[in-house]
């Protein structure tokens, strides 16, 4: 049975949040090259032996960093991403026919996530016209200019990282770990945020809040990054 907090205090345990993880789920994850991936929630997906995930994420990070672990542990059957180059396991699984990969230009991926998150039916863009990125997309002419119709993306579960949340889920991000996180926060049917610091409602200055808590369903306390970064010696 899955439960969601009712009311304005959305802080839950990781175990409670994990009851929403299912085999075969579509999972959207904020972050970029592992920076801004939620480590504790990703570990929970691994520990709960969740399989056959359709992953929507900017990239597949590195083999033992962030979402990269989901690839390395073969929990993902399909990924929609802009880049998989830093995780050789993703390339190897794709070549072996074990992982389906749908590539999307990075800024268009961001806008597709945003479109899903803000309730739009799609977006029009000229990025990738004249390349194989056109494949399978309708063309729409507006004022004589040709655009590709890009579909919106949502997911059953969205997980993300923020630096700070109040108990309602108002979010503040951490420098360049913001990246896809505010967009992913809007695009989950259920959005779970992992944060370094939880504060009481009223402690955040409304002017500094990047993601309003209304988009957030659950908040879990982060146990911190449980990997070494690629640049660390």
């Amino acid at each position: 049975m899955t439960v969601k907090p009712v009311g304005f205090d959305k802080v839950v345990t990781v175990d409670l949040a994990a009851t929403w993880f299912r085999d075969g789920m579509t999972l959207m994850v904020g972050g970029f090259g592992g920076v801004g991936n939620p480590p504790t929630l990703i570990q929970s997906i691994l520990d709960n032996n969740i399989q056959n995930i359709t992953l929507i994420s900017n990239d597949t990070a590195f083999p033992y960093i962030g979402v990269g672990k989901l690839i390395t542990e073969r929990r993902v059957k399909k990924v929609i991403a802009s880049h998989i180059g830093s995780n050789p396991n993703a390339g190897a699984q794709m070549t072996a026919g074990e992982l389906e990969v749908e590539f999307c230009p990075q800024g268009i991926l961001a806008e597709r996530v945003r479109a899903g998150g803000v309730g739009l039916g799609g977006i029009l863009s000229d990025i990738g016209i004249g390349t194989i990125a056109e494949k399978g997309k309708s063309k729409v002419t507006v004022d004589g200019r040709e655009f590709l119709l890009e579909s919106p993306l949502t997911a059953e579960v969205a997980i993300l990282h923020a630096k700070k949340a109040d108990r309602y889920g108002n979010l503040v991000f951490d420098t360049s770990a913001r990246n896809f996180n505010p967009l992913v926060a809007m695009a989950g049917d259920l959005t779970i945020v992992e944060v370094d610091e939880i504060v009481e409602v009223g402690e955040l200055n409304p002017e500094e809040i990047i993601t309003p808590g209304v988009f957030v369903d659950m908040i879990v306390q982060s146990e911190g990054v449980n990997w070494r970064w690629a640049w660390e010696k």
């Binding site: 592992g34 920076v35 996180n181």
Partner: protein, 225 residues
Amino acid sequence: MGMGEVNKTESYRERIARRAAQEVKNGMIINLGIGIPTLVADFIPKETEVLFHAENGILGTGPTPEPGQENPMLCNAGGFPVTLVTGASFFDSATAFAIIRRGLLDMTILGVLEVSQKGDIANWIVPGKRVPGMGGAMELAQKAKKVLVTTTHLDKNGRSKIVRECNLPLTAKGSADLIITDMAVMEVREDGLYLIEVMHPYTVADVIGATEAELKIDGEVGVFE
């Protein structure tokens, strides 16, 4: 090291970067790709004020922090820790690409697998072999005001990367403006690809002999020392 100081042990990568830095003008907003483009920042004179854009959501990245001073959350798009310059800002990925698509990026510097004499760029996929994905390269190549390509002239099998037509799937059509290699500097114009400089000690004949694309010459060809 500043511009004009020729380092005797300079690598070809550093020389390409030093030449590319000459294209950087005061007040530019610039995105640097991974590899040789990243080195360009080291060759921009102190008095030239620019802002570096990183597609993971920073305008105003600064030099690599001192060891021990890294903030793991504060990285460039290649995943390496950076610092910030005065006036820097953070934003989400949608805004990072709004800056690019809206045409606010004065220059991008990219590596390539192939670049054609018409300025077509291929840099994201070798079908069946190496498929890293396009990342932000399509937006950068298609929308930056000036697209500067830095690359080795030949691939590791000795074949020209400067070609008549790209064989690999394209990143963007007709987008390269200037191509800087370890052998030459070439400019894409309306009527073809022009050899404008050779890299010392290569000669015009060396460059033409090593290049699959048709190279045109208009007046004198410079030498970059």
